[in-house]
Symmetry: C2
Subunit: 195 residues, 2 copies
DNA sequence: GTCTATAGGTGGATAGAC
DNA sequence: GTCTATCCACCTATAGAC
């Protein structure tokens, strides 16, 4: 391994980038090694050198996606202190994914759940867990601060929010209409406002 | 075509039953003619006699599912007059689908959207449209009657509800935990209560 | 790290006998 | 309406040369 110039991207990452987009648009059973290889102008055999099986590729995909998301959540925490602004940025995170007709990687894989290797399934759940935990923290803090109003446990309310946003992506994508998502997201957040 | 005894089920319907379950659990790209044929102990060629292409089978599947759902909504309208009770039964409809690890057929197909033939995509949207229209009507009526409280257009609120329920199914299925769905559904309906 | 070549299987779909 | 037989494209994955 040598030092690489800034403009170069390691083959592994280029594979992950293409595969990620394909999974998010077509589903885990809707893309093939051939699709990825063809787009990168390498052979399927070269792909297998980097990722011996499709499941291994999928696992790395979910792991990387989860890390990136956790990074984005940390950025939100660093940039915003108000709960309502944090939630608004969280929703915008998903809206960003939706542009380009992409579904949340883990929402898509949740649909393919029954056909995935064990490890991928576990990682998808871990992604949801992390999102719920973060949302739960924001909700709890926001309610304590008097910014937000809702009944019951923050963690339960977090599940409502996560489910609703994943579903809003799913449905909005059927219409190719991001506004459908943002409209739902705005209503969900407005319902939590204390004023 | 001859009169058939009550216990007999036409081959076409048995095909649709099996295919429906497979799509709801595995996704449209996660099942094959071979799977259906194997389960019914007929050959793939026999399947092609009834449904020349996979897309034709899929279209019939969505059409039938939509009709069944409309029937269920009509039943709810006939049995209940209060908006809150209608919505509760609507949520129970989805909970029933979720048992047996099934996803809403159209929610699943929404994930597979990009890989579907045009006609199937249109039928999936029609399903969502019909659900939104029915929910919008119930919400509007419920608010007028003072049973429900929410801001904005009923049709917009209907989209929130539909998205959230679809998403709740998607996420709950990852955990194999129907309670996750019912908990979210109850919170959504409680948030609409006027009291 | 990428290639050619290929294995071994399965995908959807068709032809023609019964 | 169901079968056998078959087509061809594609799938994931491996072996071995460069």
């Amino acid at each position: 391994m040598r030092a690489s110039a800034a403009s170069e991207i390691a083959t592994v990452d280029r594979i992950l980038d293409v595969a990620e987009r394909l999974v998010q648009t077509l589903g885990f059973n809707g893309f093939s090694y051939g699709d990825v290889a063809g787009e990168l102008r390498i052979t399927k055999a070269a792909l297998h050198y980097h990722f011996p099986t499709k499941g291994a590729l999928g696992s790395r995909l979910v792991a990387r996606y989860g890390e990136a998301f956790r990074g984005a959540l940390a950025e939100i925490d660093a940039a915003e202190s108000e709960a309502r602004r944090k939630l608004a940025r969280y929703a915008r995170l998903h809206a960003g994914v939706l542009r380009g007709n992409r579904m949340c990687l883990c929402g898509m894989l949740a649909a393919d759940q029954a056909t995935l290797p064990r490890e991928m399934r576990a990682r998808v759940r871990a992604f949801f867990d992390a999102n719920e935990a973060w949302l739960g923290g924001v909700l709890e803090h926001g309610r304590r601060a008097g910014e937000l109003r809702f009944d019951g446990a923050p963690r339960e309310q977090a599940r409502v929010l996560l489910s609703a946003l994943e579903g809003a992506m799913l449905v909005a994508r059927s219409y190719g209409d991001v506004a459908r998502f943002t409209s739902v997201a705005e209503r969900l957040l407005a319902a939590l406002a204390a004023d």
